[in-house]
Symmetry: C2
Subunit: 208 residues, 2 copies
DNA sequence: CCGCATCCTCATGGATACTG
DNA sequence: CAGTATCCATGAGGATGCGG
């Protein structure tokens, strides 16, 4: 990217991460370190030369580091500590995108991992701030486990631990509830969500 | 910009503001509504056709609105309420840029208004949280007035009101102090900053 | 296969001139 | 002043090649 030539924090940031695909690469690495192939798979549409270019740029800038994974000579990419601090501005953009997301997928492809990344960003700004029971989010074939602790939100795959209640809904409804853009009772009245188990626990997470 | 085709908040945000220059246009409008010429002046290097294109895109997306300023038929651009909410992610990127900024201007042009925009973003994350006396920031020929209130930071031009103390420094030192990346005593020992008036008031703003 | 590098085409950005 | 038109340079995207 050509330099903006401005001594301004925003301009300097954008010279590092403003190029097309760059922040999406960081998004992928925020979820977990990944191999070249994982990144190419998680970024449908990126050209292989671009991915290689961008990884080099990000490594040079100090955002990403290339390292040897596990035992063998397998290359793996991970965020540096500074790179991982991009979670804050990324969370801000995720929150800002709420009006764009509640329109629904509109043909765009959907990956559950992106929702897992978005949920804490959306929920963190709603001042529940007290621990909740673990609830389940049933989306298509999968159920996620979601829980608020005193330190933040945990989102992950369902495990053997019990869930107080479960809500089944489309991704866009989950996002709407988490962002506070969709009212819990409205969603229930419209049949957009389907509750199993203890409704109060689910409402404690999303209710207004 | 070509669509990413991903139902992900970050990707959708970037389809709106990810194009080159877009966030810098928003930065300019965060400071005040502006006319076409003001924007062209505040964005050195932008081609006029690009500025026109981007303003159209941002208007279509609902980030910017075009309106008639004052009494006459003068067109003016301003952020919509949703567009103004980009301040959060922009502040995040400004904070993230600290390691890039403390290297100094390195030939990039500097505008005082960019520093005025950055200061609250940097100071907000430092948990002083209590009101301070108003102090002066002397940078080149200009002195800014800076004060913490219970609700946030006020930065603006100096007026007739008294200043408890004044600190003179290069922009990069001001940024380093505000970001917590430069220690007050170190800066003083190195002669990077020059205090007039009440040092305690200045230290209350930047001291660790 | 995985991890890129090369090649080619076409869309986009940049600089400048020009117009209502 | 507020943009458009034009032309050229650069970068994205897609296909493919190639060594380990």
């Amino acid at each position: 990217m050509r330099s903006y030539g401005q001594y301004c924090g925003l301009a300097r940031s954008l010279e590092v991460v403003g190029d097309r695909w760059n922040l999406l690469i960081v998004r992928q690495l925020l979820m977990a370190p990944a191999r070249y192939r994982d990144l190419a798979d998680g970024l449908p549409g990126i050209a292989t030369n671009l991915l290689a270019d961008r990884l080099r740029d990000l490594e040079t800038a100090g955002v990403v580091e290339r390292r040897l994974a596990g035992t063998g000579s397998v290359v793996e990419y991970a965020l540096t500590p500074w790179g991982a601090e991009l979670r804050e501005p990324i969370n801000g953009l995720i929150r800002w995108s709420t009006p764009l997301m509640i329109r629904g997928p509109e043909g765009d492809i959907f990956r559950l991992e992106w929702l897992v990344l978005a949920l804490p960003a959306l929920l963190d700004k709603r001042v529940t701030s007290r621990p909740t029971e673990a609830i389940g989010l049933a989306i298509d074939e999968t159920t996620l486990r979601l829980r608020a602790t005193r330190y933040g939100f945990e989102v992950g795959p369902r495990d053997e631990r019990a869930l107080a209640g479960t809500v089944r809904a489309e991704p866009m409804c989950i996002l709407g509830l988490a962002a506070g853009a969709l009212d819990f009772d409205d969603a229930a009245a419209l049949g957009l969500i389907e509750i199993e188990g203890d409704e109060a626990s689910v409402r404690a997470m999303f209710g207004s």
